[in-house]
Symmetry: C2
Subunit: 239 residues, 2 copies
């Protein structure tokens, strides 16, 4: 009771502080995030801030956890899409890109939280929490591939494992989003249709693993649109 109440208070404040951290990130960019600034923006003092976060890096890890949680929630919505398994997979890629667009800074924070030296400077508990969250998302995503194989839509190619198939999807999605994000002004990216570039990339990939129905036999542009309209209509308006 007693503990619970004060712990609740602390948890609430942590969320409040993370909100502030996000606003700093958005306003002044990534390098500008400092616990000094967070202190200034908050109504607390430095010692209290450091009571919540071991360090700037620890704070960044906390932001990554928040980001991953949000992504997981989007995934859970995406998988509700009414359609074939390959369409559900497309919906998940859509969700991933949606998050990357809605929260580009937080999306990049996930990557930065893996930079060498980051984990050492953060609290062990937070590191473990982040690990378990990643593990959850990985299991969830791999499950899609197992289901697809179970239904026969997907046949495991010789010499390839489920892990490789999943990883290739992840790499393509991550790579596409990261490159689009960091090279928005580049001539190359500008000439491409940013709304469906990811769809095109994963379509080639899924065709390459013979995930039925192939893109020549199915209108995934339509699927993409349906995902947007039926699942993420509200979120898209925020872009």
């Amino acid at each position: 009771m007693n503990l619970s109440k004060s712990e609740q208070k602390k948890a609430d404040r942590e969320q409040e502080l993370l909100d502030l951290a996000v606003s700093i990130l958005k306003d002044d960019g990534f390098a500008a995030l400092s616990l000094e600034k967070l202190t200034a923006k908050s109504s607390y003092s430095k010692g209290t801030i450091y009571n919540h976060f071991f360090s700037k890096e620890d704070c960044l890890l906390a932001l990554s956890i928040r980001a991953l949680s949000s992504i997981m929630k989007l995934f859970l919505r995406a998988i509700q899409f009414d359609g074939r398994l390959r369409e559900k997979a497309v919906a998940i890629h859509y969700a991933y890109q949606l998050y990357a667009r809605l929260e580009p800074t937080l999306f990049m924070a996930i990557l930065n939280s893996k930079a060498p030296g980051m984990r050492e400077k953060a609290s062990v508990e937070r590191g473990q929490l982040l690990d378990s969250l990643e593990s959850t998302i990985n299991s969830f995503s791999e499950q899609m591939f197992r289901s697809a194989i179970a239904t026969g839509e997907l046949t495991l190619p010789t010499h390839l494992s489920i892990e490789v198939l999943y990883f290739s999807n992840w790499a393509m999605s991550y790579g596409t989003n990261a490159l689009m994000m960091t090279a928005p002004e580049s001539k190359l990216v500008n000439n491409l249709d940013s709304n469906t570039l990811l769809l095109q990339n994963i379509s080639i990939l899924m065709d390459g693993m013979s995930w039925q129905p192939l893109s020549k036999d199915w209108d995934y542009q339509k699927t993409w649109q349906r995902v947007e309209n039926e699942i993420f209509a509200d979120d898209m308006q925020l872009i």
Copy 2:
């Protein structure tokens, strides 16, 4: 003459400073790079350092330029591979991964040099140099796809442009390398064969775009090995 000599001297010193910056990056990680430390490690004073680099960010851009130049050199060697065009493309992916492994910190520096707020703090000339270097690499890589189409090995799928095909390769390669680099201890990545994971990923992708010969009709593992033995044998020993 006079100018040339002093300019040469300055250029030499810049390379010397960049070598030092790289060593700081390798030793103490990314966040530890500071012009203060660079000053301490060098035999010059702060003012002189700032005479070379506008800021820490400007230094980072210089490192990115160096990294991209190295990558371009590796690409030029890779394309010498004696084989089909799809094999040459495989060789280029090999080269990209080789660099990511040899110089992980510099590989990541390229990404970080695109973070928001980075360009603003760096010199305009350096930014332009970086842009033109990227443009060169893009053109070079796209040329591979044009050649493949010219020979008939690759047929442009309907509704897809050369740019999309090239970008999908880039995204896959970049995504695979980045994820492998930042998640080396993850259960998922650990269960995969890191030596051929990239090959597997791009094989699926290239199969998806029907780049002949398909992986079921050609032993690209052998190609991968040949690239290593015939082109990059020396470099591989450094890993």
